[in-house]
Amino acid sequence: MQEPTFLILTALATGPKHGYGVTQEVAELSEGTVKLRAGTLYGALDRLVEQELITVDRQEVVDGRLRRYYRLTDAGAGRLAERARRLRKQAEAAESRLRTRPNLALGFTAGSFGASA
């Protein structure tokens, strides 16, 4: 699962959102590093609908414009949870190894100073 897909699923985890809402949420989640434009976003949404990870919740016409709201399916929530679990595990492994990284300059390991647990 690529980062934009992960972020889209995460954005929808709190409830149904329309396309523009998803892009705003994704920008916020990624601290502005991932900015989804319409062509990319709808390509990803279509693919996720096809994989049944998200589905169309409802559609509304606001000010003459069509808004389609997407929501996470159970399968999508499961996939997101699984991905989050893996990422957490990998992040923990990375942090754990960083703590034991030898300080080559002084001949100490980070753990010798009781670095943050």
Partner: protein, 356 residues
């Protein structure tokens, strides 16, 4: 939302921007645009900066990429991906052959009289009883006028023949010499077989000369085939034909894949059977075509050249196999086109088909 509501929408800048976005959305496949165009437009307008009259370059590029992705999109799954690649390879081969055929149709063969004249120039003497055979049908894979004569030419040499042709404006190619195994009773004849090719104005002549040095048989028997030179733009035609065929193969597979998704098992089994049959039928001509293209591109062909790429679609049996492949492909498309929506379709797909 940076700009919304009827008031904002009536602003001229907003209307102009919307027109631009609508134009860009025309790049998408029509079915997709009908189902999702208004929704994408809403997001584009929502995210547009106030006062913007035209889409940003980034938006144009993004929509362009999105449109290309939609055109070439395939249903999720390895099987459709494999089918699309195979269809692109096979129809690419058919397209390349068709491109080659079109390139070769651009020139006309010289008349029989001209072919005889060319042969006499090579011979250096008039033919006494020429035999002329013309193969110029649209399905003749090697269109040529063959000229031969029983006449034995004394003192004929390849150098003088080439000099006469060169004087006539022909460009000469390499010469291939061989010693033939010719016997009169138990006596092996002292002979040499020489072949060379010359080209001029889109035409080519291949001269075959058998020179016998045996004292009582001394002389040269000469025959020619006057044919079309390889068209200079044939590689471009092959490439364009391949691209058209490959893209068509990919797009049709994607279309059929979506039409057949979640359809009744018998229909999908019928499509699988037809697909395997098409693949089996296509194997020989497809491999043959790519082998020919490889030879044309990467090998020295010598004086005899090689069969043109189009022979794989005009000469039987490969042409029959290609016909069978296309018939099976057409049957798959008919099965896809006539597939009805089943009750198993997802809710999402049903919502997608609902117009606001």
């Amino acid at each position: 939302m940076t700009a919304s509501g009827e008031v904002m929408r009536k602003q001229p800048t907003h209307a102009e921007l919307e027109r631009w976005y609508r134009r860009l959305l025309w790049a998408y496949p029509i079915g997709y645009r009908r189902a999702n165009g208004e929704e994408i437009l809403a997001m584009l307008m929502d995210s547009a900066e106030p006062g913007r009259r035209r889409p940003s370059r980034a938006d144009v590029a993004d929509l362009g990429r999105g449109a290309v992705r939609q055109w070439f999109r395939l249903p999720v799954g390895l099987s459709t991906m494999v089918a699309a690649v195979l269809a692109a390879v096979v129809l690419g081969a058919v397209g390349a052959s068709a491109g080659s055929w079109l390139a070769w149709q651009a020139n006309e063969l010289p008349s029989n009289a001209t072919a005889l004249e060319i042969t006499e120039t090579a011979a250096g003497a008039p033919m006494t009883a020429p035999h002329v055979q013309r193969l110029d049908g649209r399905r003749d894979y090697w269109r040529a006028v063959y000229v031969s004569d029983e006449l034995s030419l004394p003192n004929w040499t390849i150098e003088t023949a080439q000099a006469r042709l060169r004087a006539g404006g022909w460009t000469l190619g390499p010469v291939e010499k061989s010693i033939p195994d010719l016997y009169r009773g138990d006596e092996r004849l002292d002979a040499v077989y020489q072949v060379f090719r010359a080209t001029r104005d889109g035409h080519a002549v291949t001269v075959y000369a058998l020179t016998d040095f045996t004292p009582d048989l001394a002389g040269t028997q000469l025959n020619t085939d006057v044919h079309l030179a390889v068209p200079s733009w044939e590689p471009v035609a092959i490439l364009l034909g391949w691209l058209v065929g490959a893209v068509a193969g990919w797009l049709l597979t994607g279309w059929a894949g979506y039409r057949l998704r979640r359809r009744a098992l018998p229909r999908r089994l019928a499509v699988l059977t037809l697909g395997l049959a098409a693949l089996g039928l296509a194997a020989f001509p497809t491999i043959g075509l790519y082998h020919t293209l490889f030879k044309l591109t990467f090998t020295e062909l010598g004086v005899y050249g090689t069969a043109p790429a189009y022979c794989w679609v005009v000469v039987d049996p490969p042409a029959m196999l290609v016909g069978g492949t296309l018939a099976a492909g057409l049957a798959i498309l008919v099965l896809a086109a006539t597939a009805r929506q089943s009750r198993g379709l997802s809710r999402a797909a049903r919502v997608y088909s609902t117009q606001p």
